[in-house]
């Protein structure tokens, strides 16, 4: 029983280190091209919650709609769909 617990703790420690590594990787390395500029994952998470980010025809990330928080209109491709201020 004790041996089983030790191996469980080792596995849990490895899993925690692995997931912490994934978070560090997202903070330090991950960059996404958004309307011609590089954005970190944190910035992209924030943009997806406020600006209806989507993929443009060339595969780049664009924000075709008005931000509900800042009112800034995205500089990406012109939107063809009807504007909708709140995604919900």
């Amino acid at each position: 029983m004790r041996k089983r617990n030790v191996s469980r703790f080792i596995l849990l420690s490895v899993a925690i280190i692995l997931f912490a590594g994934v978070i560090l990787f997202s903070l330090l390395k991950v960059k996404h091209s958004f309307q011609g500029t590089d954005k970190s994952e944190f910035e992209l998470i924030e943009l997806t919650t406020t600006d209806s980010v989507r993929r443009g025809q060339d595969g780049d990330l664009i924000s075709p709609r008005v931000s509900i928080d800042t009112g800034i209109i995205g500089k990406g491709e012109p939107v063809k769909t009807k504007p909708e201020p709140c995604p919900t």
């Binding site: 849990l12 994934v22 990787f25 944190f42 998470i45 924030e46 997806t48 909708e84 995604p87």
Partner: protein, 238 residues
Amino acid sequence: MLVLNSYFLQLRFACVPALHCHSCPLSIFACPVGVLVNFSALRILPFFAIGMLGIVGVVSGRLVCGWLCPFGLIQDVLHKIPVRKIRIPRKFAYTKYLVLIGLVFAVPFFFPNSRFTFCRVCPAATLEASIPWRIMGVSSGYGFSFFFRVAVLLGVLVLVVILNRGFCRLLCPLGAIFSLFNRFSLFRIRLTKKDCNDCGLCARVCPVGLNPAKEMYSPECIRCLKCTSTRHLKFGIK
């Protein structure tokens, strides 16, 4: 609070491990399920959300469902309404995995502009964002999608009145993610064998219909810790 939140409490770059709507006027953080849906639609791997959900799951399993989730609190309150309650077969619990795979990953990935991604039918989103935004006059659309969302919300509210934690047990994709960690998480419920006399008291207090003395590592356990009040079960690291 609304004014404070608009200017100072905007931390939506980070998601917290609880189902809520980041479109809510009072929301401070991003919803992890919303981040998964958005990133699926953009076909990007959400490293931060995966790491955060993984660490919380490994440490505590579904403890978040029992103690942190605002929609869980709403369910607990609504279930106190005195009407006839129902029980459901255990196999229905698998529907939440279908919701996770279908509405959180597959539909947004293959149909990014679909009306039927999880966020667009999420009852928490309707309650916390769709209805408040319309009351505040920011969103004015009363089309099919709004009434569909309200119908889903009403259906879920009726469900949780007659079935304790019905949304958590049958539909919640975040609960489905955390349930994968319940068996081996660091903190978990354990039986103090010398005290257990098979009295069935813990099964009577369990809100999700488990027998905690026999199913303490069940993926359905929301770690509300009501069973630990019987003193036959303990919550800890061992």
